[in-house]
């Protein structure tokens, strides 16, 4: 039973059935994220990419803090 169930789900994955002009690099990720019936293939890729993105986000925030500190210091010293 679960087999036919997963088969049905497989063919409803938005990432797999959507073809044609409307899809592009800008909306594809959002389409996949909003699809409740992701196939195994798209699920694995989305999970991996999401992990990568959240790590990048974290490191961006860290970098920003490091970059901001000396600049602010310089600004302060030029003001005085």
């Amino acid at each position: 039973a679960t087999d036919s169930h997963s088969k049905m789900l497989k063919y409803r994955c938005s990432g797999c059935i959507a073809v044609g002009k409307s899809l592009n690099s800008r909306n594809f990720s959002k389409l996949l994220h909003s699809c409740p019936y992701q196939c195994d293939r798209h699920k694995v890729i989305v999970e991996a990419e999401d992990r990568y993105k959240s790590e990048l986000r974290k490191s961006l925030i860290c970098n920003k803090k490091i970059l901001l500190t000396p600049r602010r210091r310089r600004q302060l010293s030029s003001e005085s």
């Binding site: 690099s25 594809f28 959002k30």
Partner: protein
């Protein structure tokens, strides 16, 4: 097929795929303005820049393998090719994805070349 669409191409993409894009009505643009981002190599510096961009982090930039274009070129019905099968994830994720799912679609098929009918 690609009338009015703007495409960005990584330096890793061969000339014939770009030519096909243009021949099908697409135009070439910079990565920020592009509707489509194409690459043949996730570890190429051009493509790495996309993966590190805010657009990518915010889910606004999916990179597709440019073999999508040759799949379109070789398909009998051009718009029957599922773009979604050609997602190109960052190189550091590919090993893990391959372990779970097997080879990517562009690795499975060696026939992703645009046939040149005038050459025999």
């Amino acid at each position: 097929m690609f009338q009015g669409q703007r495409g960005w191409f990584c330096g890793s993409v061969g000339g014939e795929l770009r030519q096909f894009w243009v021949a099908e009505g697409g135009s070439i643009s910079d990565p920020r303005a592009a509707d489509f981002l194409f690459s043949c190599d996730a570890s190429h510096p051009d493509t790495l820049r996309i993966y590190q961009s805010l657009d990518y982090i915010e889910d606004n930039a999916t990179v597709f393998h440019a073999y999508y274009l040759s799949a379109v070129a070789n398909a009998e019905v051009k718009n029957s090719v599922a773009l979604g099968h050609f997602i190109l994830p960052p190189a550091c994720l590919q090993k893990e994805i391959r372990r779970k799912l097997g080879n990517f679609i562009w690795e499975q098929d060696q026939h992703f070349q645009i046939e040149k009918h005038d050459e025999v």
